[in-house]
Assembly symmetry: C2
Homo-oligomer: 153 residues x 2
């Protein structure tokens, strides 16, 4: 995209980040409890971005506390993953150009078809502070081993 | 297992929780940054449990702050998932019975084969405070839609 690469995210993660992965985004709720759930995401070579709407809890969470982390396994090989820890920047998506780019990438549709007209789209940009990208994290636990040996034989 | 079911986790999630899923566990690091990464897990009808070792960051995180959340997509259909938010209880696993039960469930091995002799195994028990288990979260965003339509055609 012409942007300088965020130094912490190695280029070896490009395929993980661009092959329509499901990330799991962690935020802190106003009651102090952690929250984490699956999301689609886009990677432009510098930032991971996620779309949400103002009525969603994670928008309210990030308005109050911008700390964020996301765990992104490879779509077809979760033995490889990248974890990004950092701060979220929230920007409006008034013309829905970002959510529509997600729909194009994930669904090959020109416009995201599932919003209500009143939904106010927000783009979450993750500014990385720390990155973990184990190449083959067999030593991390059985999750990776499971995937490599059992889930995708 | 004879335990009363934790009220917040619906039985409709049993297949998600028992079919060797990969969960993504979120914790808070001592520097205040959120962390989230993939793990295997066991479900006994009352609690989700995860194994780790004392040398791992998430053990240190949970020693300092027991808040935890885990996002668990169905192994073959991430359009369904369960999110559990709560507090972690840490217990020793001196005879490795818990990690070996994980190895049995995920790898069909009697003993987990990847530890070093010096690794001190810890079992993380997640005490649920809040649970989200969207049945078919199409409205939650494109991640679920992607999975239903693209990843597992």
């Amino acid at each position: 995209m012409g942007n300088p690469r965020t130094p912490q995210i190695p280029s070896s993660c490009d395929d993980i980040l661009t092959d329509r992965p499901i990330g799991h985004i962690a935020t802190i709720r106003p009651d102090g409890q952690l929250s984490v759930h699956p999301v689609s995401l886009m990677w432009d070579g510098m930032h991971v971005r996620v779309s949400t709407v103002k009525s969603r809890q994670k928008y309210r969470n990030l308005l109050q506390d911008p700390r964020v982390a996301i765990s992104i396994p490879h779509r077809n090989n979760p033995a490889r993953y990248v974890e990004i820890r950092g701060l979220a920047e929230l920007t409006d998506d008034p013309d829905r150009s970002f959510i529509n780019s997600v729909a194009k990438h994930y669904l090959n549709l020109d416009a995201y078809p599932f919003d209500n007209p009143s939904d106010e789209r927000i783009t979450i940009t993750i500014h990385a502070k720390q990155v973990s990208a184990p190449a083959v994290p067999l030593a991390d636990g059985p999750a990776a081993i499971m995937v490599a040996t059992t889930v995708y034989p």
